[in-house]
Structures are given as structure tokens and as C-alpha cells.
Symmetry: C2
Subunit: 473 residues, 2 copies
């Protein structure tokens, strides 16, 4: 009986093996009749999966440099690293583009606790926030779910208190970015809105779908330069639940918050650019990009180390395969996406001033996860039709999602740059979104959270798209 079933299992193995052989031989037969385009796309993926230099570069960027907030020494190190890497790649041009960036520093580790319960709450300052007074803030807390709640409560219930925005991301969205979109306003605008009612600080529930003890930072802005600026911090989702429960037990529960963050004078920094000159249309650029800066509390592996090393990898793949593009292929590693987007603005300004025609631009800034497809930031039917034509070429690489959608913060300003009244085709690389907010702007965004194959497939997906775009008239 044992033998019988072992043999059965064994037969399965053989049948499976024969199937695989079948697939392999079909594949070989098919290859002889495949187009040059199909062969090149296959070669691009083979190169990315076999010699995954993107992963090695990410190892250095995340583990040897780490978090690299704009204006920090680490951001300068990242600029130098990216320049050095591209300098060794036999590219036609590698250069830096100067840009002044904000310089916000976190200071000593933040502290937050429930005074009545002597319990610490995991907290981090939001980027751009002012500090608390040196002695910290001790105040009662009022929990809200929305800006409408502030209005309902009014000044009499808010003045002198800490406002706690405890709005969880909605888990029902399939694409987690939609859930993020629904909540990000409390992080970005919460301080200004609460200050209008006399709040002394804001605490915001971290923007993640996980229940854990990692606070997630991110940019906040004061809407009016002259407003009373109050400190803003994120609590981990676990700390948010703890605080909410404590307030239900005792609405008079007081919280202690201390932060010493501050904004220093602007610092000179750089976008890093490398390119392969086009053989036929050198003045038309196809841009691939990510942003080199990251938040400081993680290593910025997914956000956006992944996008940077993928952009470099696209150039490496083209060089390794000896593909000579008609157009100029340019990798741009933007500085300061996270808290100001100054690199993006400067890049667009220079493009306009120097009349640099960008045929297309693709940004990878949604993490180094397994590829799903691309978002097309365009209403132009010709562009949509072009992508429809490519669907069968991209499907074998599990690139099925090709839909209208947002491109990326760093390339979006190119929308307003019209050289010879031509538009740039703006595109976003779209990996799977399920895990992104486990890591986004948190201490968990480390090298180990990135899978080497997923990272490589993303680079290959972008290289494939660049190749297809370059083949168009």
C-alpha cells in the first residue's frame, strides 16, 4: 500500500516533469518564430533575474547608508554613492543637478506616555513639525475621527488639549493606496486644523493596515506661515488603540509628549542623473526615476531605495544586452520627494529652461514588490491604444494591470513642461500594494523586507516598457 501510493506520487512527479519538458520544448519551438521585440523583452527579464545588481545596490544604500532624509549627511552619501555607481557603468553622461532642500531634524528620541497609567506610547514626530517646549506637554486628549468632529466639538472642548486623530485606514480597498488617500489628510493637515480650535498638539494614528507598535512618520505642513504652530506626531496603531481605550475608561486621562525636532536652514543637495545617449533621437528623453531621499527612522529600502536601484538597473540592462536606444534613456534619482519635492520642481524647471523634450517618464515609488503593471497618467486615446497593443507582450511577465492612474510625485511637474507643444507620457510603475504600508515611513522599511526577485522583476518591467516606448515613432 505504501509503495502503491509512493509510486502514485512518483508518477505525478514524472507526469509533472514531462509537462515541464513539454512546456520547455514548446517554448523553444515558439522562440524561433517570436519577434525580435518578444526576444528582447525575454532577454531583459533574463538579465534582471540572473544578474540582479539592483539588489546589491539596494543592500549598500539601505545597509551602509540607511535612512537619508533631505539635508542629512546620509542624503549626501546617497548622492555620492549613486553618482559613483553610475560612473562605473560606461554611460554617456553622469551628472548632478543642484537643488536647495529643507533640512528638518528629529532631534533626541520622542517620548509619549499615558500619565495616569505610567505607560509609554510608541511615537515619532511628523516631518516638518515644531518641537514641544523643552519640558514637554502634559495635557488631556480629545479623540476625533475627522475634521468634521473638530467643528462639532468646537473650541470649548478642544482648547488646551491634544487632538488625537484616530482614523484607521479602510481595509476594504483592494489597492492599499486608496486607503492611504482617505487618511493622509489628517497627518498632513491635522496640526493646522486642530490649532484653529486651540489644540496644543496633535497625535495621529499611523498610516498602516497593520496593528503593531511601529509609528509611521511622513510629511505634515502648516497651512499658514503665521499660524500658531503646534507639534504633530504619529502613534503606532497599537499605541492608538491603547490611548483610545484609556480615554474610554477615563476621558480625563492626560498624556505627556516631548519632541525636540526642528527645521534648520536649507541645504545644498542634488538630483543624480545618468544617461545613455539616443542613436537617432538623442534630444528626446525617456526618463526612469525614483527618489533618493527617504525618511530617517527606517532605511528607505522600499521607499524609495527600490525605485532608485531599479532606475539604475534599467540602464545596466540596456548596456549589458547591448541595446542601442533611439532616444536618450535617462535615470533620474530625485532628491527631497518626502518633504518638499524640491528635486522634482528643479528638474522640471531646468527641463523647461533648457528645452529638454521628455518623450516619456516612468516613476517607481510604490515599493519593490512583485509587478502588477503600470498606471497611465493620461487621457490621450493614442497613448491608451499604444498600451493596449502591448498587453499581449507584457502578460507573459505577469504585467496585467495597465490602467489609467497617477504617475509619481517626482515626474508629475513635467506635465506642465511643453517643449514644441508636446506632452510627456507620464507613467507609474505599479507593483502589488498589499504589503506597502507595513513598511512605509517606518522602522520596518529595511533591506530584508525587499525580495530580490520582486525587485529585479520591477526593474525588468520598467526596462521592457522603456524598450517598447523607444520603439515608437
Amino acid at each position: 500500500m505504501l509503495n502503491y501510493w509512493l509510486n502514485l506520487k512518483f508518477c505525478y512527479a514524472i507526469v509533472l516533469f514531462i509537462c515541464f519538458c513539454g512546456i520547455a520544448s514548446l517554448h523553444l519551438q515558439a522562440q524561433s518564430s517570436t519577434s525580435k521585440t518578444e526576444q528582447t523583452l525575454r532577454a531583459i527579464f533574463d538579465e534582471a533575474l540572473t544578474n540582479n545588481v539592483a539588489y546589491q545596490n539596494l543592500d549598500y544604500l539601505a545597509n551602509q547608508i540607511g535612512g537619508r532624509l533631505s539635508g542629512s549627511p546620509q542624503a549626501a552619501a546617497a548622492v555620492e554613492f549613486a553618482r559613483q555607481v553610475m560612473d562605473t557603468m560606461d554611460l554617456d553622461k553622469v551628472f548632478l543637478q543642484e537643488v536647495m532642500v529643507p533640512h528638518w531634524v528629529r532631534g533626541t528620541p520622542e517620548r509619549c506616555s499615558l500619565l495616569g497609567q505610567h505607560k509609554n506610547l510608541a511615537v515619532c514626530a511628523l516631518g516638518g513639525s515644531v518641537a514641544t517646549p523643552n519640558a514637554g506637554i502634559r495635557a488631556e486628549v480629545v479623540e476625533v475621527k475627522s475634521f468634521e468632529d473638530l467643528e462639532k466639538l468646537g473650541k470649548k472642548n478642544i482648547e488646551g488639549k491634544i487632538v488625537f486623530f484616530n482614523t484607521p485606514m479602510d481595509p476594504k480597498f483592494i489597492n492599499t493606496f486608496h486607503a492611504y488617500g482617505g487618511c493622509a489628510q489628517y497627518r498632513v493637515k491635522g496640526a493646522s486644523q486642530a490649532a484653529k480650535y486651540g489644540a496644543v498638539a496633535v497625535l495621529v494614528r499611523s498610516l498602516t493596515l497593520r496593528i503593531d507598535d511601529y509609528p509611521h512618520t511622513g510629511v505634515m505642513v502648516y497651512e499658514d506661515e503665521n499660524e500658531v504652530k503646534i507639534p504633530a506626531a504619529a502613534l503606532s496603531t497599537l499605541a492608538s488603540e491603547t490611548l483610545s481605550e484609556a480615554l474610554q475608561e477615563n476621558p480625563k486621562e492626560r498624556v505627556f509628549l516631548k519632541m525636540s525636532c526642528k527645521t534648520l536652514p536649507d541645504v545644498l543637495s542634488h538630483n543624480v542623473i545618468g544617461e545613455i545617449k539616443g542613436s537617432e533621437k538623442p534630444d528626446e528623453i525617456i526618463l526612469i526615476g525614483g527618489h533618493l531621499d527617504s525618511w530617517d527612522i527606517g532605511d528607505g529600502a522600499h521607499d524609495d531605495g527600490a525605485g532608485c536601484v531599479q532606475a539604475i538597473e534599467v540602464l545596466r540592462i540596456f548596456k549589458a544586452l547591448g541595446i542601442k536606444p533611439k532616444r536618450t534613456i535617462r535615470a533620474v534619482l530625485f532628491m527631497n520627494e518626502e518633504n518638499g519635492a524640491r528635486g522634482a520642481a528643479e528638474y522640471a524647471r531646468v527641463a523647461e529652461a533648457e528645452k529638454l523634450l521628455h518623450f516619456a517618464a516612468i516613476e517607481s515609488d510604490r515599493g519593490g514588490f512583485t509587478p502588477r503593471g503600470f498606471t497611465i497618467d493620461s487621457e490621450d486615446p493614442k497613448t491608451i491604444a499604444m498600451f493596449d497593443k502591448w498587453r499581449p507582450l507584457l502578460a507573459p511577465f505577469d504585467l496585467h494591470k495597465i490602467e489609467k492612474g497617477y504617475s509619481g510625485v517626482d515626474i508629475k511637474p513635467l506635465e506642465h513642461v511643453h517643449i514644441d507643444s508636446k506632452n510627456t507620457i507620464l507613467l507609474g510603475y505599479e507593483p502589488d500594494s498589499q504589503r506597502y504600508f507595513d513598511y512605509h515611513h517606518a522602522a520596518t522599511d529595511v533591506f530584508e523586507a525587499v525580495n530580490p526577485r520582486e525587485l529585479a522583476l520591477g526593474a525588468a518591467a520598467m526596462a521592457a516598457l522603456v524598450y517598447l516606448l523607444d520603439g515608437e515613432e
Copy 2:
């Protein structure tokens, strides 16, 4: 300048927010005109993503029970746990199906070392292997890449030595299961093939695309009951590279291998079955399944704890939403997929004997990763057409890959069961494959390697498909 760009960033945030509102309102408008089917599919995903009981069940199965190899006390605990969970779900029937299973035990931790270099090599016995002699084996090693290499080397170069199958998985396949298919034969059949040439043991490179120090176990079989049975073990990929380098430096390098694994008498175990009775066609079954047993060196979280808790979750979702299926929906947690597939065989035997008509069967045994789609194990044009019709319904949930392919080891025997000369529609749930072999059969296959949303989306995908199948005549 700061303000300008902060405002720009702020404008982006507002534009994004308006976009999201747009999407949300479109969504609401669309909903009013959506079909009942579309509404139910949406409700299924909402339920899975909001009340993710699958993840809680997996926590228990992986962390409180852990690895559960057939015949082990943990396998018995898993049977009892699954029964208890389904017993609390107000199902129409929960029962166990008896099956005798093999009982192979690993014994004391295996040891392997390079004798010349006094270096340990990370190793684990393959399931089904015999032990080494008590004192271990000390022998020279001959490295091969294929069975053809054995033939070329011949008995004179192999006799008395350890054969080392060092064939890496091919990273170029997009679907990693194809890479697995190309190498699994050395693990399964390597010992028997090498023994023909007088080898004293085999070492096999672990079946993973990672270079790390985790050995990956898995089933091996002796082809002939009467052959000289030699021990078989897997080396981590890192140990494989170390050994290969050592052999290049010194082809006479000797290796020590000691294992005390053995096969004990068969043990009584069980498939665990729970069902919701069909309202119109109770005698037609739609089966969803996974396998309850796992290898012993990890916690069997992806392989196949995920499939089990997803199968249970399908029933839970149907109950939670009050969906009354026409057909009987049955979750089957099979025992002994890993080293014998006895549960699968017994289930099919009973189905035949009791004339249980299975309208369709879906297996989830490719990990708890983000969904891609389903494989259809059928050549029937009617079945293919049915799935083509469903593509637009499944695409909003990122289920784009609906292709012909293998279903699953546990449901495959139903192919040969024909009640009233009807065929069963055999289907495989297909998650993304990129990370699967990082964890497969290794100590890394733990609860933390499973993302809660990815797990829930898989359960929802299967529930959605069950709902669609049930709607067919």
C-alpha cells in the same frame, strides 16, 4: 520658496484627495447599477478583509501547533484543532475521515561537515530517507549537475563516494514553480539513481532561489523496495556553494554526514471535513481544500497552513454573509500530502465508493501570497468559456491570471472518479509565486512570513470562485 513648494505638495495632496473622492463617488454610483453577483463578490472581499479569521486560525496552527508531519503528535493536534474550529461555525456537518499515514521521524539533528576544513554545512534529511550508520559516513564527494553526469562518470568514479547534486533552480522562469519542476527530480530520485553506481549517500542542493543557510527538506522515494537504500539529505544553498568551492580546491575533500531518521509503522490519522449543505443540489459538492500536514522543520505556515485556513474561511464567509449555496460547499483539509498523499487517495476512494458527485474542486497549496488567479486543470472548452465569462468580474480584485494548469496533489485523484459519468472541474488557486521557495519546506516557513491581507485576499478569491461556480447550472 519653501512655502511655494510646500503649497505645491499640498496642492498635490488635495488633488489626490479629490481624485480619491472621485473614485469613491464613482464607485458608489456604479454600485447602484451593479448586478447582484458583483455586489456579492464585493461583499465577500469586504468580509475577508475586515474580519480576517483565517489569519487568527493560522496564528494558532503555526505558532501553537507548529510543524505537523504525518503521524506526529502535532499532526493529530492539527486535526483536532481544525475539527474544533469548524465545530463552532454552525456548519451542517463536520467529520473526520480515517486514513493510515506513513510515520517518518527525523531523529536527532543531522550533522554534516567538511572534514579537511573543519567546517559545518547546514543540512537536513530528506523525508523518507534511511539513516546513516550510527558512526556517520565519512567519504569523498563527487559533484554532479544531472543524472546524465552519473552515467558519464560511471561506477568507477562514484562507488564508495557521496554524490552531490548541485543543480540550482533556474532564476529565469517568471513562475518559480517551473524552476522547481526542473530540479525536484534530483531530490525525489537522486538516492536511487546514485545508488545504482555504488554511491554511499546523496546530498542535494536545496530547492530555493535564495542563497542562504536554510536547508529545504521534501519527499524522496526509493524506486525499488529491494534496492540498497542510501541516505539522502539537503544542503542549504550556501553550504552547497561552500562544498562546491571546497571540491574545486581539493577534489579529495571528505565530508562527514550523520542522520538518525527512520520510518516507523503507519499511524491512523484523518482528513478533516466541514460542509454547508446545498439548498437545491445537495448531492453536488464544490470542494475547497488544502493539506493539514506539513514538514517538521518549519511551522508550515505557507505550506499549507495557508490553504487550510483559507478553505475554512470560505465557509466562514458564506455563513457570515448568509449566502445559501445551491450546492454543498465542502472544506477538506487533507492529511499527508507531503510524503504519500494518502489522504488524497482515501478521499477519492470514498468519493467513488459512496458515489459523491464533485461538481468542482479548488486546491490552495501554493502559499498564502497575493492573488494572481486560478489554474484550470481541464481541456474542456465549456469550462474554459465559463472562466472567460468571469474575467471582468474577477479583474477588479486583481485576479487576472486565469490559465490552463495543474490543480493540486490532493484533488487530482478526483480526476479518475466519474459519478454518472460526470467530470469534476479541477482548479488551482494561484497566488504570486516569487517568494514561495524562500520558505518552502524550510525553517523559514513561519507565521511572520505570511501577510494578513494577502492571506485574506486568497480566501476571498476562492470564496468568490465558489460563489460563481455555484451559480452555474
